[in-house]
Amino acid sequence: MDEYYIEVPVEPPKEVRSLFIPIPPEYVEETYRSEDFLVLVGPQHPGSGHMRLIVRVHGDIIKEVIPDPGYVHRCVEKIAENRLYIQNIPLVERPSIMDAANLNLGYVRAIEEALDIEVPERAKYIRVILAELCRIGTHLYDAAILSVFMGHTTGFMYPFGIRELICEALAVMTGVRFTTSFIIPGGIRRDVDNKVLKYVYNITFAIEKRLKTFEKIFIKNPTVIARLKDVGVLTKEEAIKYGVVGPFLRASGVEYDVRKVEPYEVYDELTWEIPVADAGDGYSRFLVRVNEITQSLNMIRQCIERIPEGRVISDQICENGKEIRGSLFDALANIVLPTGEYTTLTECARGTAVFTIVSDGGSNTPYRLRLLTPGWLYLRGFMEALKGERLADLQAIYGSFGYFPPEADR
């Protein structure tokens, strides 16, 4: 059916002019002259997070979504230029506090690559345990947000209840519930006792048991399947074209995981599979992450079974003692990276994170730190998945992507 414009004087709504919206006024007028209208979702909307989505709807169907991110931009990259390398470790964790260990690991590996530091085996195993614990925690967090976006409050409470065990495990291993800052160039801060590792080993079984309850109430719930199935579909080609990363790329049928492609730490020694789905809809994006939780639990168990005894800090950093406790700043405060550009890829919970450190060779602060978080990388794919869906599906697709504005804005 052809659409005709009626030439009547159109007055765009007041808020479009007063709220500093990043769209030209012509676009607004053109929207209002056709039969569409603009819905501003956020930043105070309960289902938007810290961002604004400018949704152009035709009846109930979404025609286009323009994101307006940046409400939680904290200048991580700029602040990093004025701090010592060692002081940046707590900073780079802040974009996504539940996924702290993975971001921490990416940054530290860039420094290690520059300085050619060999990390002891035991430290590598403990790093992997921390990273996988954080991955499970993030997936549970995202599952909780997804369920509350669909009005399922029980599905919100259960994963947070389960995540409490992850926090407990991190607390006994490192002393804090999240944002551990435990991984430092050359190893880890302290050795973890074998009894503590045994405790973490038992916690993985507790998590698995509680996940079965969650599966009954939420994952196999008919209303949940009805809401997520065939919604927000990204085909394999689209997912590659828009640069989607992480579990959301794997949900579209692309078998890509940095942990397999360019293995770091001890991922190549562990036995695990990449969970992949073909549908590319909201439900498969959710299921891929649920399966990743199972894989991660399995990985943690393998790590604890195989962990060797030995040092936890490289002798290039700390020559005398076995541990760096008490001499952290003496050993690491004045490290200077040789001139050059050092890039690492890390598989965070929500996808690939890119760390680039540019050093001028003379100063003890980075010349430039580039941090590309997964949220920022898949924002485009997320916006494309929304096109052609109903307005009620906006929150379901949002939850299925687990988009986290603080992580994307950095």
Partner: protein, 365 residues
């Protein structure tokens, strides 16, 4: 002249008074005191008692306090939490809903610039009219406001008026999310109303009359839920849809459109519109009890006299609702098109089957 009118009214009230053996000595004593006797006679006048106390307004208020607390406590128990506890700890937070109501009352009620001001303020109060009118026709034994042979039909008709006020509320708010919410409310109304009416018609057909007394009489041996289980199921789902309980909480989806038609309300006005759905649930559940659960019939309690049927009716209703609220912690929200598809395919089909069932039941009886 005035004394004559008062005397006439007193005579009217005393001629149709509640007969409760338990408090009879007290009532007799109070009726001898001039001045107080008129008030006592008014309160115990059966039509007034039905509308103002039970199963009318008084029971409605108590039910609201109970169901808000019970729903939160039950959901909390399912979700590994404790629920409301801190308001009056010795009774485990039982008066939480009352505390919330008081808080709403002292909050500022903001009227935004774009609203149609008179309608915006009036409509939450006007919305109570279609909610409260059906109470007049709901009998509980001898306690009844208005006796009518078409009481069930009238109740259904007045229930059907409630969504109109909600749509008007959304329209008066003049906001985008309120607009989307009222359109959704209209669509949901469209989805549940036809199966709901057919389910009620099939029950009226079984009982042979729209008179609640006949309906309850016919259920003396077998309750309506067993006579026509399909109508029972259709009515229950329609009740969830009509009061936007969770699998169908579509017009008020707080994560999607932030309470839909009520998005702009605050303070006591929000308190009023928030309870609308609960009140509608109460009315529909009263009708549900009369049609399917044997109404006010129950083991007789001689000492309570006329009060016993009232207690049975309210008790059955509250228990039915208390069982119904558990769906909130089990299901996620359906999409609008899925709910409409459910209403016009499965529910409409089931309600038509229920008509066939009732024809069969009538032939057997």
């Amino acid at each position: 002249m005035v004394m004559g009118v008062i005397g006439y009214l007193y005579g009217l009230f005393t001629s149709n008074m509640m007969d409760i053996p338990l408090i009879k000595p007290l009532v007799d004593y109070l009726l001898n005191i001039p001045g107080i006797n008129f008030i006592v006679a008014l309160i115990l006048w059966r039509p007034f008692f039905a509308i103002a106390i039970a199963p009318g307004l008084g029971a409605l208020m108590l039910y609201l306090l109970w169901i808000v607390y019970f729903e939160r406590k039950l959901t909390a128990r399912v979700q590994w939490r404790v629920g409301p506890l801190e308001v009056c700890r010795p009774i485990r937070g039982l008066i939480q809903a009352l505390a919330d109501g008081i808080r709403y009352f002292f909050q500022e009620a903001i009227v935004h610039r774009e609203a149609h001001k008179p309608y915006f303020i009036q409509l939450p109060i006007l919305a109570f009219i279609p909610v409260l009118i059906p109470i007049m026709f709901i009998p509980a034994g001898k306690v009844v406001g208005i006796k009518s042979d078409y009481a069930i039909q009238l109740i259904v008709a007045f229930i059907a008026l409630i969504p109109i006020t909600i749509i008007a509320i959304g329209w008066a708010s003049n906001s985008r999310f309120a607009y989307i919410g009222s359109v959704r409310e209209a669509f949901m109304y469209f989805a549940y109303e036809v199966p709901f009416v057919i389910a009620v018609i099939s029950m009226i057909f079984i009982y042979g009359s729209g008179n609640p007394y006949t309906a309850v009489e016919k259920q003396a041996i077998v309750p309506g839920a067993i006579l026509n289980p399909i109508a029972f199921i259709v009515y229950m789902i329609a009740m969830l849809m009509a009061t936007s309980r969770l699998p169908f909480e579509i017009p008020e989806a707080d994560q999607e459109i932030a309470f839909g038609p009520f998005v702009e309300y605050s303070g006591i006005l929000f308190g009023l519109v928030m309870t609308l759905a609960y009140e509608k649930l109460y009315i529909m559940a009263l009708l549900f009890t009369i049609l399917f659960l044997g109404g006010w019939s129950g083991p007789p309690i001689p000492i309570l006299g006329d009060l016993a049927p009232v207690i049975w009716l309210v008790l059955k209703t509250v228990i039915a609702i208390s069982i119904l609220v558990i769906v909130r912690s089990i299901y996620a929200r359906y999409r609008l098109d899925q709910a409409i598809r459910l209403g016009w395919s499965s529910m409409l089909g089931l309600s038509l089957i229920s008509l066939v069932v009732c024809a069969a039941v009538r032939w057997i009886l």
